[in-house]
Symmetry: C2
Amino acid sequence: MNSNLQIVILGGGFAGLQAARSLRRANVDLTIIDRRNFHLFQPLLYQVATGELSPANISAPLRALLRKQKNARVLLGEVQVVDLNNKVVCLTDREIAYDYLIVALGSVHHYFGHDDWEKIAPGLKTIENATEIRRQLLGAFEAAERSPNPDEIRDLLTFVIVGGGPTGCELAGAIAEIARHTLKNDFRTINPADARIVLIEPSEYPLDVYAQPLPGKAAQQLQRLGVEVISRTRVTGIHQTHVELLTEGKEQAWRINTRTVLWAAGVKASPIAASLLRQTELTSARGGRIPVQNDTSLQSHPNVFVLGDLASFNHDEKGDLPGLAPVATQMGAHAAKCIIADLNERPRTAFHYRDRGSMAVIGRYSAVGVIGGWKFYGFVAWFLWLAVHLMYITMFRNRMLVLVQWGWTFLTHDRSARLILDGPTPRIPQLAETTGWDNDPAMPHVESTER
Amino acid sequence: MNSNLQIVILGGGFAGLQAARSLRRANVDLTIIDRRNFHLFQPLLYQVATGELSPANISAPLRALLRKQKNARVLLGEVQVVDLNNKVVCLTDREIAYDYLIVALGSVHHYFGHDDWEKIAPGLKTIENATEIRRQLLGAFEAAERSPNPDEIRDLLTFVIVGGGPTGCELAGAIAEIARHTLKNDFRTINPADARIVLIEPSEYPLDVYAQPLPGKAAQQLQRLGVEVISRTRVTGIHQTHVELLTEGKEQAWRINTRTVLWAAGVKASPIAASLLRQTELTSARGGRIPVQNDTSLQSHPNVFVLGDLASFNHDEKGDLPGLAPVATQMGAHAAKCIIADLNERPRTAFHYRDRGSMAVIGRYSAVGVIGGWKFYGFVAWFLWLAVHLMYITMFRNRMLVLVQWGWTFLTHDRSARLILDGPTPRIPQLAETTGWDNDPAMPHVESTER
């Protein structure tokens, strides 16, 4: 029957995949379009970046996930344009018509207008980001081991993480563990434990989306792991050799010399959002998100659903829902429910996010979280985090492998996925002679193509 | 004591690593230099290329392997020049003096003077090669699923492997298994089992380094897996859209249309060999190898050892030793023994390769091999191959993970490491209109930057 309703899903993340699965028994034809051939379990991406897991451990081929769902097909492709009026999605090499469209393309890094920072300070969204961060982290220790210059060694062993949200805390904690434990006896010239790990947080405490005492506890736990938390401070410049910082209430900017800056400070809606906003004449919400109706569809186009990070859904008047996997999954299921309601000529229902809680891990034995209104921190939170994440990893096989690798890392502090791949052998950047910062307020921006 | 003998080892492969380990109790300072921070278990690299294992499963960080060996340090770096007379190794950013030098840099692909083929037909030597091959293989199925053109689909689903040695057979067998089993129900438009897998072999049978009946059995087993073996045929051209072939005794070249060509036809000595040959005024042996003395050192420079693939060691007048891990490992141990003999002012001994056997795997239940003079094939050979390779994987942790992944793949035919990474989304190359081959002997070489 080619007369089936054509449903096109853009993005095979948590929202898109759930929408597809929830429509498995519907009499429709589903097309899931993604740039990548796999679904990524993003909550564990930082473990790929820090060499604990391999990319394949947290990825599952979309085709394998949807193999048995005969009404679904997967297409690899990059979405160029969505034409809402003609109900067509344009890929690079073809057009696909739809009756219903589910847009779940997620978010990208946001450098607050400083797109040039991206080259120096990678964020953590894709597998490629993760392997690049891994390369920079491990490469810095390698370069330090080779360097004859104590100042250079100190700079190479300084790691700055911008942003104290969940990703920033995860990265900072894991880097501290690498430096203090994993690499402990690996080098002959440097002592990896000398590494300075700095977390830059604009507010008073990291993880300030949580209510007290959790942010305070998080700061304590980070410090215990050896992370230096610099509060009430913003980044005003990122350069090959240093970051510029401005602390609240101070007039004078200051700097930290470093060769490794990681970006965990912000995301914005996928570029597709701008075009959708233009076509619907809607006003962009915070971070470029698209305002949706209470059923997650677009006001002017009820056959188009916008889900996950891309949607601005006004939840209990509290502002947008957070960019979390459970939000995306529930929205995916809801969009599917609305389509089924339409098919059965029943009214759609409004979306309600059931907040079962959320957690952020910091390091071994360290996490904070809220589950069912209860606040947890320390060992208990860490243990719960472990259990929940293991439960949610999509495919059974990965779950077993992740368990084995976690068990090993836990027992030995070792991380086997410590491969420096893809890219030139890390080299010590050629530095321009810089005079001291205080003497040189103009501060030369050292350009270098190497990093 | 800085008066220790300085021993520099170039290359952290099987030969270099074994040499370092065998010198663990010697009163020397060891420096192991490698471009990469890990030792690679190359015999299983084809499983990374075919999505069964992750890169980290077959790699072990060199620093972790040598962590407890206090007389060894690891340096990441690319060797630019070895100056034999001044006993100095030059890296990009520094020079390192040595008393003894162990050169174990292995081999690179050899395209028989057609270096332009490398862009189209990747070989399998590095992790990057493996992930690139994985990307091309899986990308071809994806592109075929998207294509509206039956001819194009047929070309996309044609996989040509050049060279029927162990690597060629491993790749051909694994691709057949992917097409017939792993991807069985993954696509909606194409049937992956339609894929044509072609192995081009210049002699009568693949794996002809073995004595009969093994090559004949190998050909049978390949055919049973669905691989088309084309014997007595050489490749005379590799293009974006096809390969040109010339069969023994025929005058007319012919072609196979394909978008995926894998190179498993030859290796030659690492580029460092040429410079060493020039400095020693030795004549290059087959494949650019460096002729060594019976103790594996250079005639003119007894403090320099050349090991593994790089050495031409005349074994029982039978020609060079094969480029196998056991050869490299034994040579590494022998070079270490010679250095220890020198330290103790005892005479060096001659190197003797103890051939315990060798094996080549073809697919599930299929392998051939010789162990202790006994010939094996079929299930028994496959089972032995499995046991031996599991035993030899370097680190305990990887062994366990590999076992889990193999068990899973065996039970389910599934391969989890099926990520298409690093590179543009596979696209269908823009084809020039080509007329048929027979009508157009000039045959336009279709240039395309995409692949």
